[in-house]
């Protein structure tokens, strides 16, 4: 199991995480239904505006699902940043992982590794976290 993602998206997510620091950033990458391909990047507002929590605004969330439906897309990646901790799902991340088909991407912008970032991907299904390889394409 692995996530294939373009360099452009990785860079855009890294850029977004730096820009929104010290708050966590978040967003999704969408793709055609059933394809599993990360094709369209859509940053989302972190309605919690917090360095330790993120949440899509409920109105944005509904609009996203309507858009995805209208476009015959699916949510392929759900990502967010950890500002001071490692790029591994927290207990909260695991508890709220409600999209079993998605790749959950964590990005860490913690000072110890800056300016580098950590970019890792996981499946979170029924409370079980499985890390997967990330294959970055040009």
């Amino acid at each position: 199991m692995s996530l294939e993602i373009s360099r452009a998206f990785v860079d855009a997510i890294a850029e977004q995480s730096r820009a929104e620091y010290p708050d966590e950033c978040c967003g999704v990458i969408l793709g055609p239904v059933g394809s599993g391909k990360a094709v369209r990047h859509k940053p989302m507002l972190n309605a919690a505006h917090s360095p330790t929590f993120y949440e899509f605004d409920p109105k944005d969330l509904l609009a996203l699902y309507r858009e995805v439906d209208d476009n015959d897309e699916e949510i392929v990646v759900i990502y967010h940043s950890h500002t001071e901790t490692e790029a591994y799902p927290s207990r909260t991340d695991i508890a709220y992982a409600g999209e079993p088909g998605a790749h959950y991407v964590l990005v860490s912008t913690r000072k110890e590794i800056a300016p580098a970032i950590e970019f890792r991907s996981y499946r979170i299904i029924d409370g079980v976290v499985t890390e997967e390889a990330v294959s970055i394409t040009d």
């Binding site: 999704v28 969330l61 509904l62």
Partner: protein, 90 residues
């Protein structure tokens, strides 16, 4: 009266994989009771201590029920309810 309830992927194991089901009730609370009667265990995923779970979003015709009276939100014939788990974490 029968209304449509759209079920998110993560709750479809409770509805025999259906992504849309029908339910009855004149308030959201009544609709949830009806859903739970038809689909065992679904109520517990939506409610905790008699209130809507914090990280489950429910919409009536695209309006967040938090602004419509929560569990007491009135439901009319032809209304459509959508359930979406929050996308959140820490």
């Amino acid at each position: 009266m029968s209304i449509e309830v759209r079920i998110p992927t993560i709750l479809r194991p409770y509805t025999q994989d259906q992504k849309s089901v029908e339910a009855e009730g004149s308030t959201l609370s009544a609709v949830i009771s009806d859903l739970d009667a038809k689909y065992t265990g679904l109520g517990e995923r939506l409610l905790e201590n008699g209130a809507l779970r914090r990280f489950i979003n429910v919409y009536i015709n695209d309006e967040d029920v938090r602004f419509l009276g929560g569990l007491e939100a009135p439901i009319k014939d032809g209304d459509s309810i959508t359930v979406l788990p929050a996308v959140a974490g820490g």
